[in-house]
């Protein structure tokens, strides 16, 4: 339709009166100064253009409002304020022509207020309630509300406790009170059943033919996919639950336990009982932040072919790999010791170190991961390392350590992964070690693959 086409120019046109009228106001105020007095000749023209473009904006705005996708109260206010802008700017034009400067002052103040408010209302219509402060520091972010855990998912009312929060989080932005894109509202039973301007969106009992499900299931690159690209998407689990709810009749009152539950739904429901965003704490990273390490120390270690870097761009914790530096001099020891506040992951594969160097390592009290495979670490050195109370990962593969040596770390409860393949620890020791480190996975290695005859045979058709 031609009107619809014209209507879409509203968002472009509205910026003209804003700019032109602001310019008129600025000219008006400046022209009171002697230096800019000649600007007053431009004022009537500016007001005239402002009035004309404001009127054009009103007309296109009226046509756009007809699409019925917007919140009525806000729209009404925006509409009348807009018309007021057009009228005030016309008045401004007349006053400026009649050189009625004193009254023109009041018109300009009124216009400034009107422009600000109308513009803000327009913004609210397009970008949604509270768009302005959304990214303001300290503002609450609506879109970040995660689905709250449900105490008992079986006792929950499917629509009220599961589906509605989902819709609220992912759909209400465009399909509720402020905006009704496509004439669709999803914020109550009546609205959902009513559907949008293209008809029903849900066929109870048949999810696959329901538009609401079809849209979320579409390829995200397709234009009709919902929620639109760039907006928070439904998770696989949410999609599954939505499908289940519609397919089993889209009942607004039933509880989960009264509806048939395929295995996948059972798991999805029970996972709702846990908090949605489970930030698994990483055991191999300390909480908090480290002071920045000295760049000179890092540079000088790098000169010795040591790889060293911060574990991430937003952190000062360090990790280092000594794969090309297996023998240390006193300097290296000293420099490494000075990084004790930062060093958390250390790899020293194949290191051939003096006792003093192992002492240095034992002083790195923040260490979470130590890879000392193929190194000359001895049981005595291991005793030193027992002081590393935060150590979580310890790799001793292919070293000379014994079970007694490792026992010295008993009571070090943070250890969760210990690798002891190809050491002097025998199978018999394994059981006592297992009880000494109940929380840890002890990997003694020695994995073998079964010999299967077909591994070395090839298959050919019988001639």
């Amino acid at each position: 339709m031609i009107t619809e086409f014209i209507a879409h120019f509203h968002p472009v046109l509205v910026h003209l009166p804003i700019g032109i009228l602001l310019l008129a106001i600025v000219f008006h105020w400046l022209s009171t100064k002697e230096k800019y007095a000649q600007l007053r000749f431009a004022i009537p023209t500016a007001y005239l253009f402002g009035a004309v473009t404001a009127a054009m904006s009103c007309i296109t705005g009226y046509l756009l409002a007809g699409s019925g996708e917007y919140d009525e109260t806000t729209l009404n206010l925006h509409q009348w304020m807009g018309i007021l802008v057009a009228f005030s700017s016309a008045t401004g034009y007349l006053f400026s022509r009649t050189k009625n400067i004193n009254q023109l002052k009041w018109v300009s103040v009124l216009l400034l207020i009107l422009l600000t408010v109308t513009g803000h209302l327009g913004g609210t219509l397009t970008h949604g309630e509270g768009y302005l402060w959304k990214s303001f520091p300290g503002a609450k972010n609506d879109s970040a509300i995660a689905l709250k855990p449900i105490a008992n998912a079986q006792e929950a009312i499917v629509y009220k406790d599961i589906i509605q929060p989902l819709l609220q989080q992912k759909c209400y932005n465009c399909h509720a009170t402020t905006k009704q894109k496509g004439g669709l509202r999803l914020d109550s039973e009546t609205w959902i059943l009513k559907g949008g301007k293209n008809g029903a969106v849900m066929h109870a009992g048949s999810a696959d033919s329901s538009e609401i499900y079809k849209r979320v299931q579409l390829d995200p690159l397709e234009e009709k996919h919902m929620p639109p690209k760039g907006k928070p998407q439904l998770t696989e689990q949410e999609r599954l639950l939505l499908h289940w709810w519609i397919a089993s009749g889209a009942d607004f009152a039933k509880k989960s336990k009264d509806m048939q539950q395929p295995a996948a739904i059972k798991t999805a429901l029970s996972s709702l009982e846990k908090a949605e965003v489970v930030v698994t704490k990483r055991l191999d990273m300390p909480e908090g932040e480290a002071p920045k390490a000295s760049e000179a120390t890092i540079a000088s270690l790098r000169k010795n072919a040591i790889t060293i870097s911060e574990i991430s761009q937003s952190s000062h914790w360090l990790n280092a790999n000594f794969v090309n530096c297996t023998k240390w001099n006193a300097d290296i020891e000293k420099q490494l010791a000075s990084l004790k506040d930062q060093m958390i992951w250390l790899k020293i594969p194949g290191a051939q170190l003096e006792t003093t160097a192992w002492k240095t390592i034992a002083g790195l009290t923040n260490l979470r991961r130590l890879s000392a495979e193929h190194s000359n670490i001895s049981d005595q050195d291991l005793l030193q390392i027992a002081s590393l109370k935060n150590l979580q990962y310890l790799n001793l593969v292919d070293t000379k350590i014994t079970a007694n040596g490792l026992m010295q770390l008993k009571g070090n409860n943070s250890l969760t992964n210990i690798f002891i393949g190809r050491t002097n620890i025998s199978r018999q020791d394994y059981i006592s070690l297992k009880t000494a480190f109940p929380k840890a996975i002890l990997d003694s290695g020695g994995y073998r693959l079964e010999f299967i005859a077909t591994d070395t045979q090839t298959l050919h058709p019988k001639k």
């Binding site: 390829d219 995200p220 690159l221 696989e236 999609r239 599954l240 698994t280 990483r282 990273m285 790098r302 072919a305 790889t307 060293i308 870097s309 911060e310 574990i311 991430s312 761009q313 937003s314 952190s315 914790w317 790999n321 794969v323 090309n324 594969p349 890879s371 495979e373 990962y393 790799n395 593969v397 992964n417 690798f419 393949g421 990997d443 290695g445 020695g446 994995y447 073998r448 693959l449 079964e450 299967i452 077909t454 591994d455 070395t456 045979q457 090839t458 298959l459 050919h460 058709p461």
Partner: protein, 499 residues
Amino acid sequence: MSKENNRIIQEANKQFLEQVTRRHFFQECVTGLGAMALGSVLGGCNWLGSKDGSNSMLNTNPLMAHAPHFAGKAKSVIYIHMAGAPSQLELFDYKPELAKLDGQDCPQSLLEGKKFAFIRGVPKMMGPFATFKQRGQCGAWISDHLPHLATVADELSFLKAVQTDQFNHGPAQLLMHTGTPRLGRPSIGSWVTYGLGSENNNLPGFVVLTSGGKNPDAGKSVWGNGFLPSVYQGVQCRSEGDPVLFIKDPEGMSRDLRKASIDAINEANRATYEDFKDPEIVSRIAQYEMAYRMQIEVPEVMNINNEPAYIHEMYGTKPGEACFANNVLLARKLVEKGVRFVQLFDWGWDSHGTEENLAIDYGFVNKCRATDKPVTALLLDLKQRGLLDETLIVWGGEFGRTPMAENRDGKKNPFKGRDHHTEAFTIWMAGGGIKKGYSFGETDEIGYSAISGKVTSFDIQATILNQLGFDHEKLVYPFQGRSFRLTDVHGRVINEIVA
């Protein structure tokens, strides 16, 4: 600067000046002066994010270890690409319904509006040529073709509904590795080394090993650096003979003399860099230096003969041959030494059924037998070395294979075979902070199309980068006026399989 080096620089300058003629000057006047003016304007913009003036690029090693965006769980990646595309229907995607349809005409609904590489007319459906069992605690379906991998099912995360939009090998491989089916973009290994640098300055950060016989259809572009500095390109190592060609000193050249000549060349290059600021010169300097260091380190790492007998037995290696098993063992050795990205390419998986080697019932079975043990050994070996949790393993092809038997040119193929299929195939990942014993995505009853948990090559790339600590939307490189990234405008981290 020594006297001799001075002479080399003077010579280079003289040669350069000889090439500049009067005609040159006038030709370059228009663009040259404009560019100079633009350069002085842009010069103030802190172009490369350097803090300390213009020489910062020269003084830093482009392969120096960098911090990722956030602390990643994986430190390195071994990407096992089975070029040709193995059949998911014979390995992981168990479809008993398809067996019932074996030999029947394919329904029109599956053919309408679809394009296939070779299928013409109405093909017959083809049941799985495999016996499936559920394996491990997780109950993943793995066929008898992979008896070893079946024992480690609880270490793997399957993606059962991978999709692509390319049904020819070359473009599909490029899409998988560079994020576009066309040539010219950097490969994922290049992006990773660009972002993370190398853990071991004596080795390249990105190594490529092919099983011998054939390179992937897409050629070397699948490990190319695209528009990234060439120092980040994949270094192809050979598993027999010299691992890297032309790296040995020529006869009569001592290591000291080699060092002196490289120093002199690099000094000349540095001087040239001062004049032109071309980042490729920095790459060249770094490459000379790395090649020199690699002379010692590479032959040692690439030599599998020093490995104990039980390791050889475990992997099923064949020392002295260019074969997949040897490459897998090498991959483990390289990762152990701090190489970031090891790309393995195997070939011969294109089971069309046109000949014995490319038949589901023969060649395919033999490919499974030759690769099953090494792949499983890799997982277990990394595990017993305490490296599996920081090494991400990805296994997969460039697309899948059709539930229909191929009928090339409308005629029945001499052997059992399947055509290229883009709508659903299986890729698995393991280690590197990926869930153990998990499966994501589903296909329909006959394995034709994906019905849930669809993922694309971009999602896989985003997930690999995520495991290494990168936000795939932020790992960018400015080129031709815009910031490029591996996943372009696509990609979603498959959080469902992230532990």
